[in-house]
Each structure stands twice: as C-alpha cells, then as structure tokens.
C-alpha cells in the first residue's frame, strides 16, 4: 500500500496535466461544432473536394460529420492519440524510472518482492488512467449535451469514449514490457512518442489502403468508431486481440522483471 500511494503521488502532476490536455483538445474542437453544424452542407461539399485517400487517412467521414457523434468521433481520433502517449509514457517510466534515477537500489533492498513492486506500480498507473478517463468522460458528456443540435445516443457516446481506456491499456502494457526488455532507457518521451506515432501512422495507412491485415497491427484501429455508431457494438476479434496482448505483455513484464539483474550504478 505504501508503494502504491507513493507511486500515485509521483504521477499526480502528470495525470492532471494529461487529463487537462485531453479535455482542452476536446473543448477547443467541440466549441466549433455549432457553427460547423449550421453550415454542415457547405462543409460537406468542401470536404468532398478532398481526395478520398486523404479523407480516409485523417478519419473524415463526410456523411456523419454533421451529427454530433460523427463530429465527436473525428475529434476522438486525436484525443486517443494524446491519451495513448500518456499511457505509453506511464508504462515506460514505471519501472525504468527507478533505474534511471538510481532508486532501484533503495526500493529493492526493502523487504518486498519484485512482484509486489510491479503490482503496486501497475495499480497506481491504472488508477491514474481511470481517473483521467472518468474526468474526461464526464466533461466530454457535459460539453456534448450543452452544444448538441439534435439528440444523440448516450450509449454510443459512452461506447466510443471508453475505447480511450482500452487503447490506453494496450499502450500501458506495451510501455511496460518495452521498459523491461530494453537495457537502459535514457529518456522516456522520445521512445513513447516514436512508438505511438508509428502506430498512428500505420493506422492512417490502414485506413487509406483499407487493408484489414494492417488493422491488426495498430491498436488505433481496433475500435472503429463508425462501426460502433452503426452497430452500437464492438468488433469481437479486436477486443480479443487487444486483451491477449495486454495480458501477454503484463505477464511478460512480471516474468522478465523478476529475473532481471538490477545493474550497479
């Protein structure tokens, strides 16, 4: 419990900053919705002028852009991008921070097992993500209700929004397993930014080519917002793949970290 609280305290600031940024992005773009909706037809014409490849790449669905859910799902792509960076950062730094700041000697000479160390850190990271998601979801829903032009399905809104958490889980797990696999991580940000953008660009490619195989490779495409809007359901295959990846990566983290030599300073 002491380690959990300590970790939570460590990540308090970054949780606040990331949550604020997510909401910032959302509100800024949402604020434009009323004027956008008013002239939706004009915009549609304008957007249809874009080559289809480009529209696909940036995730524009012209037909649905006029509705609040359609508009939201477009912004949401970028909210998820931002959230993925947060989660990846968190995952990568959880264990590597102790090595980089040379505090591993302090923590691991205390009467605790390495399993307990990982568990406390993982739980703290999850708590931080859950807090981010709850705050984000609440504010997003409130803003959407204020600016809506037509009624929208709360359930679908929730279903889209909560995929932020799922994708964050995937990147948290990815960050953690990378941090124990790589020998020494000098700086977290370049690694996590690089990885997240890599996947994001792969996701854009997947959209332009419509290649289903590419979809498997990038978590950003596991939850297709237009599919969710049409069916009010997720695609089972991708949920399973995501779940397997998260469980696999976290088990690997436990296993590798328990066996790992903590190098001298």
């Amino acid at each position: 419990m002491n380690m959990f609280l300590q970790e939570l305290k460590t990540y308090r600031k970054s949780t606040i900053i990331w949550t604020a940024s997510l909401i910032g992005i959302l509100i800024t773009v949402f604020a434009m919705f009323p004027s956008f909706a008013k002239e939706a037809e004009e915009f549609k014409k304008l957007l249809e002028g874009f080559p289809e490849v480009v529209r696909n790449a940036i995730g524009l669905q012209v037909d649905t852009m006029g509705s609040i859910l359609g508009y939201y799902s477009y912004i949401f792509t970028y909210v998820v991008l931002c959230g993925a960076i947060q989660a990846m950062n968190l995952g990568t730094s959880l264990l590597s921070r102790e090595v980089r700041e040379k505090t591993a000697d302090f923590l691991l000479t205390k009467p605790v097992t390495r399993i307990e160390v990982i568990t406390s850190k993982l739980l703290a990271a999850l708590t931080s993500l859950v807090i981010t998601n709850i705050v984000y979801l609440t504010s997003a829903y409130i803003v959407a209700t204020i600016i809506k032009t037509d009624d929208f399905s709360g359930k679908v809104f929730l279903m889209i929004s909560i995929t932020l958490f799922f994708i964050q889980l995937i990147f948290l797990a990815l960050g953690m397993v990378l941090s124990v696999l790589l020998k020494r991580i000098k700086s977290v940000l370049p690694l996590s930014l690089g990885t997240v953008f890599g996947f994001f660009i792969a996701g854009m490619l997947a959209s332009t080519t419509g290649d289903d195989k590419l979809r498997y490779l990038t978590p950003f495409k596991y939850f297709d917002t237009s599919y969710i809007m049409q069916n009010a359901a997720y695609e089972g295959t991708y949920i399973i793949i995501g779940l397997i990846f998260v469980l696999g990566a976290i088990s690997a983290t436990y296993y590798i970290y328990s066996k790992k030599d903590i190098q001298a300073l």
Binding site: T103, D105, F106, P111, Q263
Partner: protein
Amino acid sequence: MNVIEIKNLTKFYGKARGIKDVSFNVEEGEIFGFIGPNGAGKSTTIRTLLSLIYPTSGSATIFGKDCIKFSPEIKKEIGYLPSEVFYYDNMKVMDLLNYSASFYKKDCTQRIQELAKRLNLDLTKKIDDLSLGNKKKVGIVQGLLHSPKLIILDEPTSGLDPLMQQIFFDLLEEENKKGATILFSSHILSEVQRLCDRVAIIKDGQIIKVEKISTLQENTYKKFKIQCASKVDKKHFDMVGVNDLEENDNVISFIFKGDINTIMKKIAEIEITNLWVVEPDLEEIFMHYYEKEE
C-alpha cells in the same frame, strides 16, 4: 553462528567476469571488512547478497536462509547503504525517511530523530537541495532507522568529511555493540583497519585471503619518498623490507615493510630536504605482497 555464508558464489555478466568462486563467512556480532580495488567484485558480491542480481552459480545464505529465495523476509533485518545514494528528488528528507520506515512493521520515528540529530541532518529540506555529504547522511539514517541485525555498507564513506566519518564510525560501533553484524566494503585499507575484526580481500573477482585485521596490521606497508640535499647512492637503502626502490635525480622512493625504527635511523644518516611517508594504496600492496605469495 554465521550471519552470512557465501559458498562458491559466481557471477558472470554475459562473458564478463563479475566474481568467481567467492566463499567466506561473516560471524554474528563481528564487523567484517570486504576490501579490494575498484572493479574487483565487491559490489557484485553485495548486490547478489541483496538479490539485486542473481548468481550464475553458487549460493549464499543470510541468517541461515537462502538469500534469493527468502529475500524479502531476510531484508526485514538488513540495513543497506550503497556507495552512491540517489533518492526520489521531489521528496523532503522526512518524507523519504518515513517512506523508508513504512516498509518495516515498526515505529521508527524516534530513531529517525535521534540519528538525524547525531548526524546534524535537516529533515525539512528537499533532497534535491542537499549536498553530496548530506545526501549520504540521508542514506545512513535510511540504512539504520529500523535497527537492523545486519548492516551492509558498500563503500560508505565517500563524500563524508572526516568529522562526519568519525560520527558515522561511532554509530556503527554502537550498533555493533547492540548486537548488529556489519559487512563493510571499502577500497581504503586504513578505514577497514580502524573498524573491522576480520577482512576478506578480493581481487579480480576472487577472494585472495580472509584474515584477522591484527595479522594484516603486522604487515603494514609505508611508502617513502625522500628528497635529498645532494646525490645519494640508492644502495644506501638497499636493505631487508625495502621494495620497489627507485631513484630520480635527488628523490628516492620505495615501499617499506618492517620495523619503522630501522628505516628512520637509516634516513637519519643522510642529509634530506623533504620527506613523505604515506600509506600505499591497495593496488600497491597487492603488487608487492599478495602477488608474490601466490
């Protein structure tokens, strides 16, 4: 009873040598020195005892229990002070010590206050703002606050001024009198001599010798450097106990082992302008004593 028993402990980092076939015991209630030049394997041995790293082969027990298998249990009674201390920078000294204490199921508040007062450590400061010596003090308090039965110190004196070093040694001796066993690693012979009962000497990853400090003290070496007023034949110092005799212009230098009086008399026979007598460092002792013995 042995508090620490190390049996054929071997650790390779890939192909690079860490330690090879290290075996020695530390008895309950003693202050045991662990000495060797930098890179000899002192830290590797200690880190294996603390299960920060895992041995390639061999084993070690602490309090009669395997140091890897029962690691969390054993660590309840171990206080560890690493050579370089780094702590969570955004914490205050008191926060860190409380965090450290929270791992042990006992109230350490009073002990923290006591130790901080002895070491003259300001508990309200941020660790970030502390000097190296003061960070070291945080390390000492952190290592002793739970009154451990075994204290493991890995080159603990770096960064401490002589006065603090004295207080630190006093603290260790008090803990020892209360029953704590101490494993003290260092590359400075004199501090080990000052404090320890027995010592293990490690070089190139292998234990060369485990002996009593009293035996080691009989073999005290002194390094002499003599500046003469005029040219003196270096043969003047060609006598038993003199090693590594060198002459450079009017400066004669050598390493001496034996009765200090005989050499002083010898020096008195000539006209000198300056004289340095220093403790040879470990490397030099190894070169002139241990290697010859093998």
